[in-house]
């Protein structure tokens, strides 16, 4: 007969060979810790987790799953073990829920080997916790008993393990999560986490395309009067949900701590943890202090919505981008109107025969010009006011940006460490308008990349300052290397692989930093044979992952399969490409991004002119970037032409080499 336990209740066990079944509805991590008489976990070898699933006497699953069966043979445990804690945790950094409050209440049951339930327990009342001790199996007078615990930890596994006295808790929690992420990455294959709501960050009531498909470029319409999604009220856009994990446990609020009642004999044991918080909403965004009346508020970095500082900064940057686009639109519209009104009035003066006599005509002309000047001055004043406000905001936001969003000259790159998580977005450069000299908006694109990049090495569209086409090609390759290095640096170790096709070896000098630091998958592929080989491998990979995903057999990818995102840099296209290779490249451009294979073309469109219009769809599908400032990007709201400036490493700076050295060192254990 099953005993349905409530929190704190215990039940004696008649068998020593048991299973613990867990079901949670969402993939979770299950593990177990052993502790001695003092309730202390003696070391990492006393923790069973997906990275080390087997201990003498017990076995847990190798990966996160919605259902688990943990096997126990209590007699086989070391004599010194007095307690086994069964713990559950939500994997972080994979885009799933980050708090148990967001998933169904986990259910655990202790069963015999024949499947008969001995005791069961539903862990209710969890909220912000991301790890929980579900059950304890413990020795009492020579026999084993089970107790329903249900102790949650908002700080996740690290806090849970620390609480059990494990000195290396932090590292172990990290490595458990890594093992889980590896397992998950393998089982779901690409594409990496993206929630449907993740795109909604900043598009509440605009009919224009959202921030994730903004740069339509001059060839695409700017969505000016595009059909609006119906009922797109800003009030039902409840903000981006779960795009990033609210990392870092919120500062403990003393008032939220439950009273730690000292356990006394006879009293029921209070299982509430003294450090436990009843609820942990994400920390409030920093808000600007109230402004003195009549003055704009002092800007603060991160003054936007979001679950994490990273997301707030992302939204703030997009907010600044939109504000600048709109304030410039207001200014241009006012000036245009002033011009056309003056023109009309002057026409009227000229066509009126009376004005030719005497000073009447001159007076009317002067009046029209004065009206024009007054309106333009007013518009300019409004623009200057807004620009000053945005510049002040940029001055506080820019230094606060994380590495992925920061310029190469930002000090944050000198303190670079290989990250544990994929950032939300990546900075590809800066954007500014003619009106906003001195104020640049970081151009952030969401990760993983949704379209390939095209670094235009052609001279078309550039002014005459750079006439040497070899110089442009070299700059384009430098730009590509800077972007690729940044991508390598912001992905966790081993989760981003770069391939290079350089058929004629013309990009060798630019590629030096990548080649020398050893972060590339292999040496740049040269010649037609190299091109064919790299393309064949990536094509096969895309096909394989697609098959696995469509067949619902994401687990059955071959062993040793590299689950990292792939980037292919192609220099000098179409040199070294035959028709078959061109077709493969187009296949990669179309199908690759969805399964984690991305393209970065460094090419002059003119070189491929022989293909006629056949390649136009390829060029259109790529996000065009330039190695020198060029105004070809359109914003999603008004459609201004923005001048793009690539994010380049300052001349003479060694920051790229230093960062790549760290990336290479971090990748070595992964052998990739």
């Amino acid at each position: 007969m099953t005993a349905e336990l409530v929190r704190g209740q215990n039940h004696s066990l008649s068998q020593v060979r048991l299973e613990v079944r867990v079901s949670a509805g969402k993939p979770i991590v299950a593990g177990a810790t052993l502790s001695d008489e003092q309730g202390k976990v003696r070391g990492v070898e006393w923790v069973a987790h997906p990275g080390a699933p087997t201990l003498p006497g017990l076995e847990v699953s190798k990966q996160a799953a919605a259902d688990h069966r943990l096997a126990f043979d209590l007699d086989a445990l070391p004599e010194t073990v007095h307690r086994v804690s069964v713990l559950l945790a939500l994997p972080s950094g994979v885009g799933g829920p980050v708090r148990f409050g967001a998933v169904a209440a986990p259910f655990v049951a202790v069963t015999g080997l024949d499947g008969s339930e001995v005791a069961s327990y539903t862990i209710t009342g969890l909220d912000a916790e991301s790890a929980v001790v579900a059950l304890e199996l413990y020795r009492r007078q020579g026999a084993w008993k089970v107790r329903a615990v249900g102790q949650g930890y908002a700080g996740g596994l690290a806090e849970l393990l620390t609480d059990q006295g494990l000195p290396e808790a932090q590292q172990l929690a990290g490595s458990i999560n890594e093992a889980v992420v590896q397992g998950l990455a393998r089982s779901v294959a690409a594409p990496p986490p993206r929630t449907p709501d993740g795109d909604r960050s900043r598009q509440a009531a605009t009919s224009a395309p959202g921030p994730d498909q903004p740069y339509t470029g001059p060839q695409g319409s700017a969505g000016h009067v595009a059909p609006a999604p119906l009922s797109s009220s800003p009030y039902d856009a409840a903000g981006p949900q779960g795009t990033t994990a609210p990392q870092g446990s919120p500062a403990p609020d003393p008032s939220a701590v439950t009273q730690p009642a000292a356990p006394t004999a006879g009293d029921p044991i209070n299982y509430s943890h003294p450090g436990r918080q009843t609820a942990a909403p994400p920390p409030p965004p920093p808000t600007a202090p109230p402004a003195p009346p009549g003055q704009p508020a002092q800007p603060v970095a991160g003054d936007a919505t979001g679950w994490s500082m990273e997301e707030r900064l992302y939204n703030q940057v997009w907010g600044m981008f939109e504000d600048l686009a709109r304030t410039a639109a207001a200014y241009r519209s006012a000036v245009d109107f002033a011009d056309s009104r003056m023109e009309q009035e002057l026409d009227k003066v000229l066509s009126d025969p009376r004005s030719r006599i005497g000073g009447q005509g001159d007076a009317a002309r002067e009046a029209a010009q004065a009206k024009h000047a007054q309106l333009v001055d007013q518009a300019r004043a409004a623009l200057d006011r807004d620009l000053a406000q945005l510049t002040a905001e940029a001055d506080v936001v820019e230094p606060a940006l994380p590495a992925a969003y920061a310029r190469w000259d930002n000090p944050v790159w000198h303190g670079y460490r290989v990250p544990m998580e994929i950032p939300m977005a990546l900075r590809l450069g800066d954007l500014h308008l003619p009106e906003s000299e001195g104020l640049s908006i970081p151009m952030l694109v969401r990760l993983p990349l949704e379209r390939g990049l095209w670094i235009d090495s052609g001279r078309a569209g550039l002014d005459g300052s750079l006439v040497d086409s070899d110089e442009v090609r070299r700059l384009a390759m430098d730009t590509a290397v800077a972007h690729a290095a940044r991508l390598l640096a912001v992905y966790p170790a081993g989760e981003f692989t770069v391939h290079v096709i350089d058929p004629a070896g013309s990009g060798a000098s630019s590629l030096m930093p990548l080649v020398q630091s050893g972060v590339l998958d292999g040496p740049p592929a040269a010649g037609a044979a190299g091109v064919a080989d790299v393309l064949a491998r990536l094509t096969q990979r895309v096909d394989l992952v697609q098959m696995a995903m469509r067949g619902g057999a994401a687990d059955s990818l071959p062993p040793g399969f590299d689950t990292a995102e792939q980037l292919l840099i192609v220099n000098d296209f179409p040199h070294g490409f035959d028709d078959r290779a061109v077709t493969q490249l187009r296949y990669l451009a179309d199908e690759g991004p969805a399964v984690g294979v991305h393209l970065m073309m460094v090419a002059d469109r003119e070189d491929a002119a022989a293909y006629g219009p056949l390649l136009d769809p390829l060029w259109r599908s790529l996000l065009r970037l330039t190695p020198v400032p060029d105004d070809h990007l359109a914003d999603p709201w008004v459609g201004h032409a923005w001048t793009y400036e690539p994010a380049l490493v300052p001349a003479g700076s060694q920051v790229l080499q230093q960062v790549l050295a760290q990336v290479a060192a971090a990748r070595r254990p992964w052998n990739r």
């Binding site: 009919s207 609006a228 119906l230 639109a329 518009a379 409004a382 709201w637």
Partner: protein
Amino acid sequence: MTVNMTKGQAISLQKNDGGTLTAVRMGLGWQAAPRRGLFGSRTREIDLDASAVLFADKQPVDVVFFRHLVSDDGSVRHTGDNLVGGVGQGGDDEAILVDLQRIPVHIDQIVFTVNSFTGQTFQEVQNAFCRLVDETNGQELARYTLAGGGQYTAQIMAKVHRAGAGWQMTALGTPANGRTFQDLMPAILPHL
């Protein structure tokens, strides 16, 4: 305090304490009149649309409606199309937010219109109203009832225009016919 406005009436948007309004919301609400017949529960849905046209010296410069929800300068925002009405049960079904301080300097009038996109006349609409709310504190400044609109498919509701340093609102209440604001332009021009 709400002013129930009548046609042609003008109110100043100066606050009682002498300050000027900074943000106003033009709200539109309606319900379809219940239809009697074989299938009594099948009320025919009515889609009214609120639009705002921005004028500079009698020339239309920008428009905010369900296909262009934000004016280019960002000062006028539509909260989104409502196709059936009645959801608010007396609240706004569509709303247009106007940030008076951010309106470009050359824009001197904003005209608000209502159109029946599905073609029913205002006789078939129940409890239709248009109101102006101080967005900063939610206080209703003026309300204008559409009921008894007669055999018309559109109405030019009101205009907000510059008066001195501040803004003034005038109730227009002129009936017209048309599916979207474009059809109303000839009817709007005399009111500028």
